[in-house]
Symmetry: C2
Subunit: 283 residues, 2 copies
């Protein structure tokens, strides 16, 4: 996906948010960070996607703060907050007529925990609205059919805390071979190897890094292991806007699951901000 | 007021909004505009206030669009929308125990029509909330006392459409000598000489330009006539965040009237976003 003009002010705002997350509260230093960001923006012609630009900018904050994982504390806090709802959501899924469909709803709901595009998320409100939610599941019947036959499923994660909801979907996929993909390094609050292990994802799936360092999946960066699975997988699930932005133009059939969080993605998908979608692409 | 880091992404966003207002809908041209904006941002060390930066950026949009007043249509539309409420607001003021106080409320309410900091304003909601409004009038008793004695009052306007509400306050000021100050050229939807005349402000006040071209009052730009009044006025009223940002560090006593529309001004004033204030500064 090419970089939209609206991504530029948004990513600048994210740089400031990241600086504050990394406890850089001095406005003079924040301005210094923005100056480096502006230098980077002088080269926007060479940047293809919003996650690529975001990555360069998050790196500037890492250098200034000297912290490799500025979002660590925030992830910990959100994990505790989200974990409280897991027993309820498990009961909700298990008491449903179509458990897989409800687990898809839960997995998409988890995508609200996004400290990049949506730092002021209201997880509790989202959970309360799980059934009345504005959710588009048009591609669900095909998804279900493909999942039932799949020898293995490649599941590309997004935000770290969201992965505890992904676990609930993985349990319903009824497929023994799930490859769960994480980012190669810390970027925003995205899921990485250490976090996936911490929440026990490695017990129900094979966890691999994509090799990509952006908040998405940059196919120019991905490693051999990932590529082998990616170009052969009978079913690919990709969570979050970042994966959609970076993979939407590739020719693989992918079932995206995300919450539309900004006008740019609303325009590209045709769904309003706030809509949750299971979206097969290409159509 | 020094430039806050948060102003930078906000002003970039304003540049895009202005481009769209000027009917530049091609994303490639929008990106070109942003590149010029980014060039300007390389010099942020030399920029003192958000209105100064905003002015440079609005000028870029004017050059690209070839339109000197990109907000003309929008101002016309908002004027019609706001004019409908004038008879109701007049009745509201005239039936009040303290007409001046109610007229102050009306004038502050009008400050919501701000296409810079607040393009998604809801005028109708604001009018419905006029009495229940979150409004701080602590400095009103002193304001009233000073106004009653004043030989003349300098009234620095802000947004063009807002000025029809300013007229209602001017009618209640009971002072024959009101100098109403407008911007020297088109900037955002701010009030200028032509607009002030169009709505008949010249019939109840002497209308002058400050000489300043920014969305505020930059004392490095102001003309002799303005300066003569400004440095001698027994009472100065200044509407809007832009006037507050550019004048807050000068040593004149000013009664600011505005709606707090962003976190930066919230932090500087100590009032939450959404609060309406009549604020004397310096205290």
């Amino acid at each position: 996906m090419s970089l939209s003009p609206d991504c530029i002010p948004c990513i600048l705002k994210q740089a400031l948010y990241a600086a504050r997350i990394a406890k850089i509260n001095d406005e003079k230093i924040q301005i210094e960070i923005l100056k480096y960001v502006i230098k980077e923006l002088n080269n926007i012609d060479n940047i293809e996607t919003a996650p690529e630009l975001s990555n360069k900018i998050q790196d500037i904050v890492k250098v200034f703060s000297g912290i490799n994982d500025p979002y660590a504390e925030e992830k910990e806090r959100n994990l505790k907050r989200a974990s409280k709802f897991v027993p309820y959501l498990k009961t909700y899924i298990n008491n449903s007529y179509d458990k897989l469909e409800q687990a898809v709803r839960v997995a998409i709901l988890g995508n609200i925990i996004d400290l990049g595009a949506n730092p002021d998320f209201k997880l509790e409100d989202e959970i309360n609205r799980i059934n009345s939610n504005n959710i588009v599941l048009d591609d669900y019947p095909l998804f279900k059919e493909k999942v039932e036959k799949a020898k293995y499923i490649l599941y590309i994660g997004d935000n770290a805390e969201e992965a505890i909801f992904d676990k609930l979907l993985i349990e319903q996929l009824q497929c023994k071979n799930i490859i769960f993909v994480v980012r190669d390094s810390y970027i925003l609050n995205d899921v990485t190897i250490d976090f996936a292990k911490k929440i026990g994802l490695n017990k129900i799936a094979k966890v691999i890094s994509s090799g990509s360092k952006v908040a998405g999946t940059n196919l120019k960066e991905t490693n051999k292991t990932f590529n082998k699975y990616f170009f052969n997988a009978p079913v690919i699930i990709a969570k979050g806007q970042g994966n959609f932005e970076t993979l939407m133009n590739c020719d693989r059939e992918i079932f995206y699951m995300f919450k539309v969080k900004c006008e740019v993605i609303a325009k590209r998908t045709g769904y309003k901000v706030g809509t949750s979608v299971l979206l097969k692409n290409p159509k």
